[in-house]
């Protein structure tokens, strides 16, 4: 093994001894990282390296709540989740799916999977950002966390609904009312929290060693109030520092690791090009997204219909009008120019949703800092700007909601109006 390692080092050419250092940095930077020895054993597909790698991949791939859980699930469950997650990510090699789930084999394949994840995106940084210690009072400026709240709950299968198969519409009304009440509660609680935070910031003005911040946050004031209890926070902070330092070192040395991984890939036996269809089938989890596909498809179809209904009569009217007119070249060039401008507008519209999120828009969590209104710009985001952006977003959303409600109103009025013998008095429009 030693002789092989030396050969690998010479092949790396980056100077002897840097591969072990790179691997050591990697194992220090990963949460519950396996020892460097595990990596080397995995290259030769040693079975004793497998469990540690299964565990590592589970930690890396499971969402935030799972990663913090104290009791990790059984190895079989871990292995299943790792396989499903990797497949969801689009992992190209089918050999992974064929590994036994008791965690006894497959260390080389797992090593390849880990490297694949590391190569595709800055995995270490993301892992650290996920569990980053937040010392300030943080506020989210974008809506991504709203989606996270929503998705975290709709992914669960609707349990406990076994007996209540049929519900009355009144139950639905009751749930909606409850939801409205909860939102109002939330708003008032949030206002109170803001008032308290503002007071804390005001009272601790001048206490922070960092001049650009000026005052303490609630977390930091808590450290002051309860120094013994904050020992844990300090420990976590120091742990994070260690991981961060290891990540910086890893970034410096990782080239030699990639060269080594090439050799690992070479030692894999060549896969038969078509190893048959996927032999492993996951148990059927009710796909909540099926509903979402339907919704979007339905909407899109309805939209297309409406567009057709709006465009066709206009086209017919136009054709009728045009038939009586002569076709001179000036007129047809004007036509073409008009087509071009419309085409450009529509292209801009398409770009608006293709590009997705506007990269210049503020994103993520921001630390709240109280400052005088006349502060020099460039320190950070101004609350007034964010408020402006939020107001326009709110106006857009309200308009969209009104439009939907108006659509329903018209449809229901039409339906009810057609019934003989009843008078339908709609509720007043707000």
């Amino acid at each position: 093994m030693g002789r092989q390692r030396r050969r690998v080092d010479r092949a790396a050419g980056a100077g002897s001894g840097t591969l072990p250092e790179a691997i050591a940095a990697l194992s220090r930077a990963l949460p519950c990282g396996p020892s460097p020895e595990t990596f080397r054993r995995a290259k030769f597909d040693r079975p004793e390296a497998a469990p540690a790698l299964w565990q590592l991949l589970f930690r890396v791939l499971s969402p935030v709540s799972e990663a913090g859980a104290t009791a990790p699930p059984a190895p079989e469950a871990q292995a299943r989740l790792v396989k499903a997650a990797l497949r969801s990510e689009g992992y190209p090699r089918p050999a992974l799916a064929q590994l036994p789930e008791d965690g006894s084999r497959g260390s080389r394949e797992l090593l390849l999977a880990l490297s694949w994840l590391l190569a595709r995106r800055p995995l270490l940084e993301r892992l650290l950002a996920r569990t980053r210690v937040r010392l300030g009072d943080e506020v989210a400026v974008c809506e991504c966390e709203d989606l996270a709240f929503g998705r975290a709950n709709t992914g669960l299968p609707a349990l406990g609904l076994g007996s209540e198969l049929h519900v009355d519409i009144r139950h639905v009304q009751w749930l909606m009312g409850k939801l409205r009440f909860q939102w109002r509660n939330l708003v008032s609680t949030q206002q109170e929290q803001c008032a308290l935070l503002s007071k804390i910031h005001l009272y601790t003005w001048g206490c922070h060693s960092d001049q650009s911040l000026g005052h303490l946050s609630a977390t930091e004031t808590e450290v002051l109030r309860d120094p013994e209890g904050s020992q844990q926070l300090l420990q976590v902070l120091e742990q994070e520092n260690a991981h961060l330092a290891a990540t910086v070192e890893w970034r410096r040395r990782e080239l030699v690791f990639w060269q080594w991984m090439d050799t690992v890939l070479d030692t894999c036996p060549q896969q038969a090009p078509d190893a048959g269809s996927q032999p492993v089938f996951l148990p059927k989890i009710p796909d909540h997204r099926a509903g979402q596909w339907e919704l979007v498809a339905g909407e899109m179809q309805a939209l297309e219909e409406e567009l057709r209904a709006a465009a066709e009569p206009r086209r017919a009217a136009w054709e009728a009008q045009v038939r009586g007119q002569s076709r001179d070249p000036a007129w047809s060039s004007a036509l073409r120019a008009l087509q071009e401008t419309v085409g450009q507008e529509l292209a801009a519209l398409r770009w608006a949703w293709d590009q997705g999120r506007d990269p210049a828009q503020p994103h993520g969590l921001y630390r709240l800092v109280r400052s005088e209104p006349g502060a020099p710009a460039g320190r950070g985001l101004q609350a007034a700007e964010v408020i402006g952006a939020l107001r326009s977003k709110e106006a857009c959303l309200e308009a969209a909601l009104r439009q939907l409600q108006g659509q329903c109103r018209r449809e229901l009025a039409r339906l009810m109006g057609a019934l003989p013998g009843f008078v339908w008095i709609s509720s007043p429009v707000r």
């Binding site: 890396v60 791939l61 935030v64 799972e66 989740l81 689009g90 050999a95 940084e125 950002a129 996920r130 943080e138 709203d146 996270a148 709240f149 929503g150 975290a152 709950n153 669960l156 049929h166 519409i169 139950h171 639905v172 009304q173 749930l175 009312g177 939330l186 609680t189 949030q190 308290l196 960092d210 303490l216 808590e222 450290v223 109030r225 904050s230 990540t247 990639w258 979007v296 939209l303 297309e304 567009l307 709006a310 465009a311 206009r314 401008t341 419309v342 085409g343 519209l349 997705g356 993520g364 800092v369 109280r370 985001l381 609350a383 964010v386 709110e394 959303l397 409600q405 109103r409 229901l412």
Partner: protein, 447 residues
């Protein structure tokens, strides 16, 4: 009653929304508890927090236990309190008042008078009047003892209470006494009364000139400060390395490795990841709403001349083409998902490492601070955030309800009272978010 699958979907959707709201509430209440605790009196073993006025001040005066007042200060304090009590005695001329002196024992036994006096605090109405009354004696002691310590504060408040208690017993000469005492010290004492609160409102230079060593006592512990600064330095280092490695040997090595992995796995083709599919789905949803908005604009506009008419026509046809393209893309995606058997994310939500909006995933933007200037501004900002989140949820629910309930109303056979009440309920849910109801009148043919 609603049909089974419709019920199940609706209830699941609404319960999900309720759970999301409850989760937010839980997180908020956690932080609220912490904040409330910070703004109360800090020391758990000290004076009971029955005096709300002491709250903010207590925070400012909290010292590390290591700092104790000198015996000199204690002696002075004792003399002072003795003098005050003597004055009280003389004024009231009550022999009983002369009994329980023990005025201010040393710090150790201070706790006892404190705990016996709560019974005197029974008149909450007097608490407001006490505000001005308690400040002068405290103020006096403050000028004499610049190092404020806990035992000292306890002494002060216990002294307050004893004298107040006596005042209550002796019905009313008390306040008169206070007023007399208030007059001379008031001039010097008013600024010192609520140190922490006033500090926040005064400009900083003035506060420093007062000579109060408060600020140094409120510094974070050294170990903590060191760790925090190291932390921010390392994060800055990481973000700089991230932005800098665009086209160097490491990146090429990585890309080569990925390609090799791809080819070594055979002709299964590049896989779509679930995250990408979700992102695309979101984009198509956005496309839908943008297209619809544009359509509404065009349909509502009244063309004035032939050019505008033509433009309107071209736009509508172009929108129709785009909608068709989006539909095709949607169906392609669906087929790809089915073929690759990309199940849903195993444990609910893309809140994993692999989604890009991990807070701080792009820390290259420098210090991410959000500056606000007043409580009002902060509250507005936060309220708007919640409003946007709530509206997004409402729009989603509206679409779900429309999809589930409108078909029900359409497929009604006969129109009896039950169907009518269903219709009313559906109308209120869909058109007014359940806040108002329409009226249905039975039109009796007369005569």
């Amino acid at each position: 009653m609603l049909p089974a699958d419709c019920s199940r979907r609706l209830v699941a959707e609404l319960r999900g929304a309720l759970d999301a709201c409850a989760e937010r509430q839980r997180q908020l209440e956690r932080s609220l508890r912490v904040s409330r605790r910070l703004l109360r009196a800090w020391e758990p073993a000290a004076t009971p927090a029955a005096e709300p006025t002491l709250g903010p001040e207590a925070k400012g005066e909290h010292l590390s236990p290591a700092c104790t007042p000198s015996s000199q200060d204690l002696k002075e304090l004792e003399l002072l309190t003795q003098a005050l009590e003597k004055a009280a005695r003389v004024r009231k001329g009550i022999s009983k008042a002369g009994g329980d002196k023990a005025p201010v024992p040393k710090s150790g036994s201070t706790v006892t008078p404190v705990t016996t006096t709560p019974s005197h605090l029974q008149a909450p109405g007097q608490a407001d009047g006490r505000v001005s009354e308690t400040s002068p004696p405290r103020g006096i002691c403050q000028t004499k003892a610049p190092t404020k310590g806990h035992p000292e504060r306890r002494l002060l408040s216990s002294e307050d209470r004893i004298s107040w208690g006596r005042g209550a017993r002796a019905t009313r000469p008390g306040p008169g006494l206070r007023d007399q005492q208030t007059a001379p010290p008031a001039a010097q004492q008013a600024p010192e009364a609520f140190t922490l609160k006033e500090k926040g409102e005064q400009p900083r230079s003035e506060a420093l000139n007062n000579g109060f060593p408060d600020r140094t006592l409120l510094q974070l512990p050294m170990a903590f400060r060191k760790a925090a600064s190291q932390n921010s330095r390392l994060w800055a280092q990481i973000s700089s390395t991230q932005t800098s490695d665009s086209a160097d040997a490491t990146t090429t090595a990585k890309t080569q490795f990925l390609q090799k992995m791809q080819t070594a796995s055979g002709p299964h083709g590049p896989g779509l990841s679930a995250a990408e599919v979700e992102a695309e789905l979101g984009r198509l949803q956005e496309a839908c709403s943008l297209l619809r908005l544009r359509m509404e604009e065009e349909v509502a506009a009244a063309p004035v001349d032939w050019k505008q008419e033509l433009r309107c026509l071209f736009t509508l046809e172009g929108l129709q083409a785009l909608a068709g393209q989006c539909l095709c893309r949607l169906q392609e995606l669906r087929a790809a998902v089915a073929e690759q058997q990309l199940g849903p994310w195993p444990v609910g939500g893309s809140r994993s490492t692999l989604s890009p909006c991990g807070a701080g995933a792009d820390p290259a933007r420098g210090p991410r601070l959000l500056l606000y200037s007043s409580t009002q501004e902060l509250q507005t900002l936060v309220a708007l955030r919640l409003q946007v989140a709530m509206l997004t949820q409402q729009i989603h629910l509206e679409k779900v309800l429309m999809a589930e309930l409108l078909p029900l109303v359409h497929t009604q056979g006969r129109w009896g009272p039950r169907e009518l009440s269903l219709c009313r309920a559906v109308h209120s849910l869909l058109c007014d978010a359940g806040e108002r109801f329409p009226t249905v009148l039975q039109d009796e043919p007369t005569g």
